[in-house]
């Protein structure tokens, strides 16, 4: 059975990020997406420690430890960047200004609940960082993760067993086996990776899958508008 490598997953997610998008790439697996964003498209990266723009990993010998990303790795900025403090940075999230957040996950429920900060182990030292802010902090939350955990269990579940990071926040899931959209009508499979079969995918996934949208994935969804305020929306709607 074909499985996408981590880099192939990153390349797949990158294809769905349209020009003009303001995007936060979470620490770990999602960071790889930056390597696959088209260089001829203006896509804006946001890092919660206070920088917006485009950048690449700083080459050895050129590290500036005042110039880091959220993973605390040194970066090299391209022209056009902006710096800002932490409250403004998180205002960009909770204020609905970011278009897409790409996050890793331990578990995702079919309703879009996200668990990615804690495994619930009683002796674990809790550490949340920006995870809960990111989970509610963009118009669309993409999760990229391995389809199965290290024990071979489905990471897509009816209900997350780990402590939640956010409620009903995930809209799309990219795994090493498939691309899935979480909708009010259920979990729709948009794509299967390589020779992964529908029957196999369902057999390793703990929630019912809807294959009616298979092959309908639009490669680059149009950017959603920032939601209007209630009163403005009412005015528009007459």
């Amino acid at each position: 059975m074909d499985k996408q490598t981590r880099n192939a997953m990153a390349a797949r997610v990158a294809r769905d990020i349209p020009e003009g998008a303001y995007v936060n790439l979470g620490i770990g697996l999602p960071t790889l997406v930056a390597n696959y964003l088209a260089t001829d498209k203006d896509i804006f990266l946001h890092s919660e420690n206070g920088v917006l723009g485009r950048w690449s990993a700083a080459p050895a010998g050129e590290e500036d430890w005042d110039m880091i990303n959220a993973g605390k790795e040194p970066i090299l900025l391209a022209p056009g960047a902006a710096f800002f403090h932490h409250a403004d940075s998180f205002g960009m999230m909770r204020g609905g200004h970011l278009d897409i957040c790409v996050l890793g996950a331990f578990q995702v429920s079919s309703r879009g609940d996200l668990a990615n900060w804690h495994t619930g182990a009683p002796d674990a030292i809790p550490a949340v960082g920006g995870a809960m802010d990111l989970a509610i902090g963009a118009k669309r939350i993409f999760v990229m993760m391995e389809h199965l955990d290290k024990q071979g269990r489905s990471k897509l579940l009816e209900t997350c067993s780990y402590p939640l990071t956010g409620l009903g926040c995930v809209s799309r899931v990219y795994t090493d086996l498939a691309t899935l959209e979480l909708t009010a009508e259920g979990v729709k499979v948009l794509e299967l990776v390589g020779d992964t079969g529908a029957e196999y995918l369902q057999s390793v996934t703990a929630v019912p899958l809807d294959f009616s949208a298979l092959g309908l994935a639009e490669p680059a969804p149009a950017l959603p508008e920032r939601p209007l305020s209630r009163s403005a929306a009412a005015a528009v709607n007459g």
Binding site: H85, A87, F90, H118, G137
Partner: protein
Amino acid sequence: MIDKLLPSAADALADIPDGATVAVGGFGGAGMPEDLIEALIAQGARELTLVSNNAGQGDTGLAALLKAGRVRRILCSYPRMTGSHVFEELYRAGRIELEIIPQGNLAERLRAAGCGIGAFFTPTAYGTPLAEGKETRVIDGRGYVLEYPIHVDYALINAEAGDRWGNLIYRKTARNFSPVMAMAARHTIASVGRVCELGELDPEQVVTPGIFVKRIVRRTPVGSATADQQQVG
């Protein structure tokens, strides 16, 4: 004449009492005022409540402050990271209290304290274990959690440059929490890489206006403050 520049970090930190709430800027090592932390250790204040994004790495900086047993309680978003063994040992031994706070709430609660906001509703952490026991409300169909400001007695921050009125600019991502900590604190002490003449900082570029800053000191390499003290006595 108002001159907020003090001769040394020791002078700037001299009045921090036991039991104070101290916010320390920085995200990882970027913007961490290492010289002020060193001076705080030498100053000796105990039973501190520490507000900082992380809980120190290795055995220097915040980790050294923790190791010296000066911190009773820490408010932070991400204490567990590579090299955070000092914090982990204290935490497992029950010798330090931890309040874990989502990073954006940490920033916004500091900002709220600085702006006189009594409390605010935020969507962050709604429906998660970190909202347990907190007041919640559904507004326009979205769930929110009530969060309160974090008032700070002393903020220790790092800035690229400052003048004698306390106007500050920062360097790259070393800015992070420093501006909101400066607003939240009754006394903000900034370690600056460069002391400027009045007017040298372009008013259009000032990030933290001097109203939020009580004292500034010239940044000294870590290790020098301790050496001075040893010479004195």
